[in-house]
Amino acid sequence: MKRRDFLKIAALSPAALLAMNAGCRGTGSPARRAIVLGIDGMDPFLLNSFIHEGVMPNAAILMASGGLNRLGTSNPPQSPVAWSNFITGYGPDVHGIFDFIHRNPVTRAPYLSTSRVIGPERIISISDWRLPLSGAKVELLRKGEPFWNRLTDEGIPVTMVKLPVDFPPDKGKAKILSGLGTPDMRGSQGSFTFFTDDARSITDTTSGGVVVAVRDYGDNCYVCRINGPENSMRAGNPAMEVEAKVWVDRDADALRIDIQGESILLAAGEWSRWVRMRFDAIPNISSVSAIGRFFVKEITPKLKLYLSPLNIDPLNPALPISEPQDYSSDLARDLGPFYTQGFPEDTKALSRGILSDEEYLQQAWIVLQERLDLFHHELSRFSEGMLFFYFSSLDLNIHMFYRVLDPGSPLYASTDPRFKGAVRELYAQIDRVIGDALSARDGNTEIIVLSDHGFAPFNRSFNLNTWLAYEGYANITSSHARNQDMFAAIDWASTSAYGLGLNCLYINRSDREENGAVPPEQVSDLLLRLKQDLELVTDPATGRRVIANAYITSDFYPGSLPSFAPDMIIGYSRGYRSSWETTLGSYPVDVITDNLDPWSGTHCVDPGVVPGVLLSTVPLSLPDPNLMDMGKSISSLFDVPVLPPGGRNIFRGYDS
């Protein structure tokens, strides 16, 4: 048969038609690639408004394909909970993440809900030294099976970059770089260091970082000691330390940082590149590598030198931040060091006045630029399967700059008008990312853009514990201790409920908590009474209801709940949120106060107030998509025999 004849016959045969069609996306044909952009905190109302203003032309293209859909979020609508819903297809009753903060049900001691470090089981002590005989472990506390296991089991490549609530990353066949939940080298969610000789800046109460007093003894040199991770090989776990000498030239308004054989010259107002530091546990034998960025806030008249939280070095990670382990090293080799901590934007430094709005935005821009580099790098080599990429920038920056959007914010008038366009610019940048994904699209690629929740203003703080005390649910015995250590002011024997975390309320049960006061048979009635009372709380300043819904957890999540689950989830009304003091269990004097922290946007409210967003090239078959549906729906785009069990398939054409 001649070639021309073959082509003619082949072109007419149904099989050939099918084969030709395989190159284009046809409804129901398996997609070869799915690009999923996880945009933390993208709000459907803001998005809609920016699309109509013409700020987001690429999002408008996606909206024309699959519509702009509100995506049901988790309850409570906190990122660790919501992203766990996305990953597992189930709620907190299955994956076990109810809040950023959980508490030990017996001692009430709070702990980070997403991961924990387990020390070595056996240690030999020789004088001050502690030599472990087995390795320490980091444990992911999120339960449930990730939906992409069904894809990788079928040989479909999966890459998840900066995946939230996955530290340490799941062992499996997917390529994962951990995101939200990844600690810094000090084990916190981000702890900056601020060196200064300005007495006004030196305070013990700065949370989110440490302020270190330094002094120039007349030689224009400051010796700055940088505290790193704890040294578990020494008794008492003292912090490992690196010394930096900072030489200042006040005439030039510049300084030189000499650290471990490296010199970095910076003028006032400049950020350094990443500086690698080696912390010795046992000198020349055992050390860990960390990276940090310096920022020279001021040299004259006082030194003000900021050092970012010490990040896990992606080239040589001290803790597992990727799977396979060398994935982060490969990225660092190709792109240079990058922020590895889960909350890279230093919101605490802005909240505490260490960084100004402008300086914070510079740092946030560095983070976003790094993230864009990572995204373009992965997109350029993405050929098959699923690529998930997470952006934190919208979430954390809108937390800090919602005040520029909302005239009702107590800080609206005092915020420099220069920053009024910050949120719009961020959305525009995310739109360019969507545009890049659309450009990479071929006939067999689907694009999905989703967020875990939207946003609401945080203008008024509700001190849940103070309210409980005023209403007789808690008994304060020491008025001077009410703002001090957690629960220092409380008589547990006569306290029936306490708040901890952002949305959680716990009953002080006699069969669970140490010195608990409420017998099990009274719990149901107490919860009903609390629900009724909480939903009636009104703000005397505005006359508005503070709490939209108080959810009794066992009603909302029927079935067996873990002992660390809250007894009630508080769904705040728009404009309100639990105070920072509530999250750590203290009792300020006033029940409701103005929120004067730059952290002016929130999503830790009622889930109905802050739905997420779903934009997609695939139209939907259901009107009420939810985060829990996404794993099953994304999996349905591929040719897999068994879809993940959680959620529903919402993609039209792939739902047969």
Binding site: A254, L255, L265, R273
Partner: protein, 272 residues
């Protein structure tokens, strides 16, 4: 004399690495590491007394066996242990001569590898901090003359009176080989050629001692009365991806030269 020797040694390594000029850095490093291991084991073979070493090793084997066979007799064990310690001392003595002979080429190779594979080349997006030391005191701030070619000078210039040091930042421009001129002193900065495996200057010095042969990453400059006597550039280290980890050039060199030496000893029947 030192200068001529330096040129010869640098030139020798430049020629040796010609086949690797267009390959990634790792391959040149690997080649020199393997060659060094092999070279050192061959030097060891010809410089050491192989017969004596063989006899001594046999004796030491016998002494260890003697200990193991007489564990129930502490006196005999002590006797053999004493002999074994003496044999070890003798063994170290036998090693001394070849090690002394190997030491100088080893240090030369070490210096060359450090100069060629220890630091990253300057990156156009990442300013490098240069620090210069004025032995005769800092010049006046406004009078310091800094000329650049193939570089961009990024202000400000920082003066540290207590150290007699001035610091500033530079960025490389294009592919031309960068050069600095400070108070009339001409200084090579960064890479000395445009190929992979060329030396990368991380500092300069006006001294002319033998030490210069072992530190080929330091550019030699002519001393000027008002000019800087020495200085360094803060270039980041390089890491090499080997066996799933990221290693310094030292780790790569020690691993592969050892492997090559062990293989060479096996192949050429060298007693070590």
């Amino acid at each position: 004399m030192t200068n001529a020797a330096g040129i010869l040694i640098n030139g020798f390594f430049d020629i040796l690495l010609i086949p690797f000029r267009t390959l990634p850095h790792f391959w040149g490093l690997l080649f020199i590491s393997l060659l060094s291991g092999l070279g050192m084991i061959m030097v060891f073979k010809f410089v050491s007394n192989q017969d004596k070493i063989l006899r001594l090793r046999r004796r030491m084997g016998g002494e260890i066996l003697g200990i193991l066979l007489h564990l129930s007799s502490p006196g005999t064990v002590m006797n053999f242990a004493g002999k074994l310690i003496w044999s070890n001392t003798l063994y170290l003595g036998y090693l001394l001569k070849p090690l002394l002979v190997i030491a100088i080429p080893f240090m030369l190779v070490w210096g060359q590898l450090d100069a060629r594979y220890g630091s990253a080349v300057m990156d156009e997006s990442d300013p490098v901090t240069v620090t210069v030391f004025f032995e005769n005191g800092l010049p006046l701030k406004d009078s310091l003359q800094i000329g650049v070619s193939g570089l961009e000078l990024i202000p400000p210039v920082l003066f540290i009176d207590t150290l007699d040091e001035a610091s500033f930042r530079i960025l490389p421009l294009g592919d031309s080989l960068p050069n600095l001129k400070i108070e009339g002193v001409s200084i090579q900065v960064g890479r000395t050629g445009s190929w992979n495996g060329c030396r990368i200057h991380r500092g300069f010095d006006s001294g002319n001692s033998l030490k210069r042969l072992l530190t080929p990453w330091i550019a030699r400059v002519d001393r000027m009365p008002e000019g800087p006597g020495s200085g360094y550039y803060s270039l980041p280290d390089v890491r090499y991806g080997v066996l799933g980890g990221y290693w310094s050039w030292i780790a790569v060199f020690l691993l592969f030269s050892s492997l090559s030496a062990i293989a060479g000893a096996k192949f050429f029947k060298v007693k070590i």
